[in-house]
């Protein structure tokens, strides 16, 4: 489904089809999120809950307001799916979370965590979570994904996300976003996974999932 067909399907009121596709996408996303949560739980040695993934569409310029985090300082780990499915993946942590996670992973008190250690640890964790997420989906639908090496940035939420929204605005008037939240039971590990899905990836995921459903029925 390309952008135009998505917009026109909205206009024509074929909402049922889209809801159904979004349900499929939510299910696929849950598989990835479950795998990532397991990885996070093992790394941090504590239970991690996941919120039911959300799929939403919004014009890119409205997404900052949707989150309403504006000036909150966050650390983001960013990766990109390369190739034809090109899409952006962001893992966003509260800035304080970085230190807590680094302390847990390096088994040292939070006050002893050096900024460089915190930075490299969160980048490594982001890499593992993003890898776990795509690996589960890849196994399910039988398509290999190649995420780029992660990059990390610490800044306010709006400043970080505006980079991706501009990129979205360059190529589309409606962003298709997958979002899930991880909640650490013992006060660490809280983060948001946001994926700006490309139309190509969206189409392929739905097609593969439908094929899988057909095969399951047979």
């Amino acid at each position: 489904m390309n952008e135009n067909s998505m917009e026109s399907s909205n206009k024509q009121g074929s909402i049922d089809q889209q809801v159904s596709d979004f349900d499929i996408l939510q299910e696929i996303g849950s598989i990835g999120a479950g795998n990532a949560a397991t990885a996070l739980s093992e790394i941090l040695q504590q239970p991690i809950k996941i919120e039911l993934p959300k799929i939403y569409t919004l014009p890119p310029h409205l997404i900052q307001d949707y989150y309403n985090y504006h000036d909150n300082p966050v650390t983001a780990v960013y990766s990109q799916l390369r190739g034809e499915f090109d899409c952006d993946i962001l893992l966003i942590f509260d800035r304080d979370e970085e230190k807590k996670i680094a302390a847990l992973m390096n088994m040292i008190p939070p006050e002893e965590v050096m900024p460089e250690t915190a930075a490299s640890t969160i980048e490594e964790l982001g890499n593992m979570l993003i890898g776990a997420f795509w690996s589960a989906i890849s196994n399910f639908i039988g398509v290999e994904f190649v995420p780029s090496p992660p990059q990390r940035a610490t800044d306010s939420f709006d400043a970080i996300i505006d980079y991706f929204l501009i990129k979205q605005a360059l190529f589309t008037s409606i962003s298709l976003v997958f979002e899930t939240r991880f909640l650490g039971a013992q006060g660490a590990g809280n983060c948001i996974l946001i994926i700006f899905l490309s139309r190509e990836l969206y189409k392929m995921l739905i097609e593969k999932a439908k094929e899988w459903l057909q095969e399951s029925k047979v």
Partner: protein, 183 residues
């Protein structure tokens, strides 16, 4: 304020330094200017935008004591321009000028201050176009087309900025993780 999305309103206490006029040392309204939006005003209030690669364009008329801010995302809409003039540098500047003229400002009295246009991440696909610096160039070009002098700017780099602009005094405060600048 002629923009509909004015729900992010908060009260802030301004305590920056002694160089700021006393009129600002009071609780003043802070109004957020979201992406692709614009706000104008002529009372002591702060317009605020948080920008990374976007650019906050502020125009001020020192005679009428009024000003406005546009939060632009892209240099130009090209053929696919939607109905969001404040999204693009080439349409935001004239639209902001027009709004200020409706408030009684003279175009010849306007000056501009801008902030933003950073490059937050390395990305092969859009690094080639470096949208942050392209935004800045497009804003400068549009200001020049309208003969509006650019009197201050804080642009580029690799960090976000919280831009506060006082529409009554024309003072712009730019905060980032690197510190604070008053323009």
């Amino acid at each position: 304020m002629d923009n509909p999305s004015s729900r992010n309103v908060a009260k802030i206490s301004i305590t920056y330094n002694a160089t700021i006029p006393s009129v600002m040392l009071h609780e003043q309204e802070e109004i957020r200017v979201n992406m692709a939006c614009m706000k104008v005003g002529n009372t002591p209030q702060w317009l605020v935008a948080t920008v990374g690669s976007c650019v906050a364009v502020c125009l001020f008329d020192g005679v009428k004591k009024c000003g406005g801010m546009a939060h632009i995302m892209l240099p130009s809409g090209g053929k696919d321009k939607d109905m969001l003039p404040y999204k693009y540098a080439d349409t935001a500047v004239p639209a902001l000028v027009e709004s200020l003229q409706k408030m009684g400002c003279e175009k010849t009295d306007l000056v501009a201050k801008i902030a933003g246009g950073a490059n937050m991440f390395y990305d092969q696909k859009i690094r080639a176009v470096n949208v942050g610096s392209r935004n800045v160039e497009a804003v400068k070009k549009s200001l020049a087309c309208h003969d509006i002098p650019l009197v201050a700017s804080d642009v580029g780099g690799f960090h976000g900025r919280r831009v506060s602009f006082n529409v009554f005094t024309g003072i712009m405060v730019v905060k980032s993780f690197n510190g604070e600048k008053i323009l």
